[in-house]
Every structure is written in structure tokens, then in C-alpha cells.
Amino acid sequence: MATRVGSPTRIQIGAARARRRRVRGLPYLLVAPAALLLGLVLAYPLVRLGVLSFQEYGLRQQFGAPADWVGLDNFRRILGDGEFWSVLWRTVLFCLSTVALTMGVALAVAVLLTRVPRHLRLAMLSGLLLAWAMPPLTATVVWQWMFDTQYGLVNWLLTRLGGDFAGHSWLAEPLSFYSVAAIIVVWMGVPFVAITLYAAMTQIPRDVVEAAAIDGAGPWARFRDVTVPLLAPIIAILTALSILWNFRVFTQIYVLQKAGGVTEETNVLGVYAYRIAIGENRFDTGAAVAIVMVLLTLLLTLVYLRQMVRTEEL
């Protein structure tokens, strides 16, 4: 059919408009499932957590009694409670010392990886991957077995080396409990950090290091004044990530407590909130502790987020 100039064009314009309108709606349709899920199953519980922390919510409310608003009472209670402060202090101390250990060991391992011959490097990388791949729970259970009081390998080894460790209990006393927990956390944390650092080190241009060598810088000076500054951004990100991860440590502590640790003296924030809320049905106080945990994490995160937003164009 012959087409005239006037009307078909209008139809085409109309069709294009309709298509554009459809396209304009399309992205919203695509994000809808994700947004809906995250809103309903994540944002809503987060709001609910906030609400709980301002209410009185215990066993009675769990069975249907109305929850009263109590303002800041829950926060006042935990902030006035010596146990909360020692748990918080313990969590921060455990987090910082394990992060320092993880970063130190990982940096040393990364440098080693650049120095050893190729076959050993490949073996080391595979070994680190294997450790990285272990599920946190099974890793903890295996270490629990190695530190076992009666038949554990560690006690056997230390006794063979001349100590008196037969039947020594590692979990009964808080400091040695935390040493075992720290070993597990660091063992699980080092592979990721070390491999990432090693990968970043291989990206450093050779001539930069060689130029420093020609200028007379020794190996240690080259490492300190050339390698470390060039790696600073990634070291910052890895440190921030490790802090975030180790601040929320739960599984390792929980399992070791069940294996004979003294609960009151070894709680960290996550486990503490869990025990108060789920164990003792004090959902209100538990929620207040959890809110403090979220706020502290978000504070720590700001650094990481700023770096992330700066390096990635959104």
C-alpha cells in the first residue's frame, strides 16, 4: 500500500514514544524483584531491630502481650552494665589484634611469594587456596580437635618439645581461649589478604623498583619506601575489610565456648547479643546491643566506602 507522508509519520512518532515509555518503565521492572526482596526481607528486619531496641520485649511479649515503648531505657541499661563494656572492649581488642596479625603475616607471605622459586610459589598458592576454601565451621572444628585436651596434636607436640602439656586445657582460661580463637581467625584470614597483596605486588612496574636500587636503596628501604606506598590503597581496603569481618566474629567463638570455654568471660558482641535475645528471651536488650554493633560497623565502614566510591565510577 502506498504511504502518504503525513499520517504514517505521526503513527511512527506515536509508536516510538510508546516504545520509549516502555523502555523507561523497563529498568524499574528489572530492579523490582531485587528491590522488593531487599526491602521486605532485609530493610524491614533492620527497622524492626531499631523498633525492638526502643521497646520492652521479653518472654511475655513473645507470647502476645503488647510491647510498651520505653524510650532509651534499653540503651541506658546496657551502657550502665559493666558486662556490656567488657564484652565491647574484648571485641575491639580481639578484632584489632587479629587484624594486625593477619595483615602482618599476610604481608610477609606476599613478599615470600615474590621471592621463592616458581614451583614453590605454585605450591604455596594452592595451599593458601585450600585453607581459604575451608568452611568456617569445619575449620573451627578441626582446630578444636588439634587443641583437644586429651588427644590433641598441639599438646602432644609441646610435650615432645619438653613442655608439660599432657591434659592441658586450652579453653578453660580466657587468654588462652582467645589465643586459640585468634589462631583460627588468622589462619582463615591470611590466604585472601596474602594472595590479593601478592597479586598487587606483581603489578608494580619493575623499573620503579630498579630505579630505587640504582639510587642505592637496600632491599628493606625499597620495600618500605617504594612497595608499601604503592600498595597503600589496597592495604587500606584489605585492613578495612578485615576489621569488618573480625569485628563480627561469631562461629569460632560460639563453637569454642561449646567446647569448654567459660561463656561469661569469652563473649564477643555478636555472641553476646545472640545469647541475651535467643537464649534468655530478652529481645529488647539484645536488639540494643545489636544496634550498637551496626552503628560501630557503619562508622568503620565509612572509610572503606569512601575509597570504594572514589575508585569505582558508579
Binding site: 528486619p45 595451599g127 575451608m134 572444628v141 602432644w156 560460639y254 535467643i278
Partner: protein, 277 residues
């Protein structure tokens, strides 16, 4: 010359030490799982599983709730990975292919959400799922895992989708393909590695997860494998390390296998993000 030689030997020795520390616990787990109870409880440990036995594995398979736990774990994992893949991919296409109002806030929200410690939300998840009558259900646990893997998956897939040149799609469309056909023949194959990598990542997270499963699936017949293992471990009270290690090995093997498959993408992705700036 001797000094440099000594330092080379030292470096080599340190490398071997790192290797041993990394792999030994994994080896010890497998080794113990194949040893007889009488050997495990001897004063001198043997470093090789001879004489070996399969008794520990037989015992694990006969344990009450092992098979139901395996089934629960498998169902939750498959459901989570499948649904997360679909939902995350759609969202990733939206944020990397379209400019729309609210796009930037959505991305920032995704970033911030990833930082919220899941451990702090256990209490309210328990309350909310309890209100929806989803405690001790596969659906409840799946919903939980979905929202914890989604942000990472959207964030990662977004990069993969953005890397597919738009011109390729448009060229296919000019050649007469429909938009949908162009998508299936051009975009999808190029994004496939990203889909594989992120779904394996979701698999590992879901398969390993312990805390939420502990709280949400609190009846023995609804346990997942990690919760089953910890219950078995607590029940054994240090008297059955062969059985506990056999259980650990069974849970760890699929993860280790899949992890070794996916790690290349994880490290290179992270590195790409960090070095770019």
C-alpha cells in the same frame, strides 16, 4: 655470596613452612577421618591413615538426621543460587544498561547493605520470620540467604554486564535480530563467566552458613549440614573425633572443589576494582 645463599635457603624454608601451616589442618581432618578410634586415642598420633578404616563414614551415614540435613542443605542452596542468579542478573542489567531515576541511590544502598553485619540482624530476622510463620521452613532460610547474597551478586554482575560492548548488541539488532534474540545470542554468552562465578560464590556462602541456620532451623529434622555437624560435635564431647572429622570432610569437599573453580574470578575482580583508581 654465602650471605645471599643463606638468605635464599631461609626464604625457601619460610615458604615451605607457610605451605605446611596452610595445608596441615585440612590434611589432619582427612587423615583423622580415615583412622580407627583406637589409633586416634593412642598417646602417639600417627600421621598417616594406616591401618585405615571407613568405619567413621559409615557411622556418619547412619547418624540420625544426617541425610535430612544433607537434603535440607541441598534444597536451600539450590533454591538460593537459582533465585539469586535470576534476580541479581535482572537488577545488574538495569543498573548497567539504563539510566533511570533512583539508579544511583540503588547502587549506594547495595554498597551500604553489604556492610551491615549479618550477625547483628539475627534477632530481628528471627522475630520477623516468626511473624510470617517461616521458622523451620526451607522458604524462610532461603529468603534469608537470598538477601545476603544479592548485594554482592548485583555488584559483581553489574561489572560483567557493563563490559559487554553495547555496540555488539546493537549490531546484532541491526542485522535483524530482535532485542531478546540479541540478548540471548550476544550478551548472555559474554556474561556467562560472571554468572558462573557469582553463583558458585552464592553456593559457597549458602552451603557454609551456620549462624542463621542455627537460629532459624532450630528443630533437628530441619537442620542444615553445618548445624548438624555442630550438634554431632557437641554430642560427641571429644570422644568421637573420627566421626566428627568424617562429617567435616564430607561438608568441606564440595566447597573446596567449587572454591578452587571460582577463586580466579574473585581475586582478579577484587584486584581490578582496587587498581583502577
Amino acid at each position: 655470596v654465602t650471605a645471599s645463599r643463606r638468605s635464599r635457603v631461609l626464604t625457601y624454608g619460610a615458604g615451605v613452612l607457610v605451605l605446611l601451616i596452610a595445608i596441615f589442618p585440612v590434611y589432619w581432618m582427612v587423615n583423622t577421618s580415615f583412622r580407627r578410634a583406637i589409633d586416634i586415642q593412642s598417646p602417639d598420633p600417627s600421621f598417616f591413615p594406616s591401618p585405615g578404616t571407613l568405619e567413621n563414614y559409615r557411622k556418619v551415614f547412619d547418624t540420625e538426621f544426617f541425610w535430612t540435613a544433607a537434603r535440607n542443605s541441598l534444597m536451600v542452596t539450590l533454591l538460593t543460587v537459582g533465585l539469586a542468579l535470576l534476580v541479581a542478573f535482572l537488577a545488574a542489567v538495569a543498573v548497567s544498561r539504563f539510566r533511570f531515576r533512583g539508579r544511583k541511590s540503588f547502587i549506594v544502598a547495595i554498597l551500604i547493605i553489604q556492610m551491615i553485619p549479618a550477625e547483628a540482624l539475627i534477632i530481628s530476622f528471627f522475630k520477623v520470620l516468626d511473624g510470617w510463620h517461616l521458622i523451620n521452613t526451607i522458604i524462610g532460610l532461603t529468603l534469608t540467604y537470598l538477601v545476603f547474597v544479592l548485594p554482592f551478586m548485583i555488584w559483581t554482575l553489574r561489572g560483567f554486564v557493563a563490559n559487554v560492548p553495547r555496540e555488539l548488541e546493537e549490531a546484532a539488532m541491526v542485522d535483524g535480530s530482535s532485542r531478546i534474540r540479541a540478548f540471548f545470542t550476544v550478551t548472555l554468552p559474554l556474561v556467562a563467566p560472571g554468572l558462573v562465578a557469582t553463583s558458585i560464590f552464592a553456593f559457597i556462602l549458602t552451603w557454609n552458613e551456620f549462624i542463621y541456620a542455627l537460629v532459624i532451623m532450630n528443630r533437628p529434622e530441619h537442620q542444615t549440614l553445618p548445624v548438624w555437624l555442630q550438634a554431632f560435635n557437641e554430642g560427641a564431647r571429644g570422644t568421637d573425633w573420627g566421626g566428627v572429622m568424617a562429617g567435616s570432610t564430607l561438608i568441606a569437599i564440595p566447597v573446596i572443589a567449587f572454591f578452587l573453580l571460582v577463586q580466579r574470578w574473585v581475586t582478579s575482580g577484587l584486584l581490578a576494582g582496587a587498581v583502577k583508581g
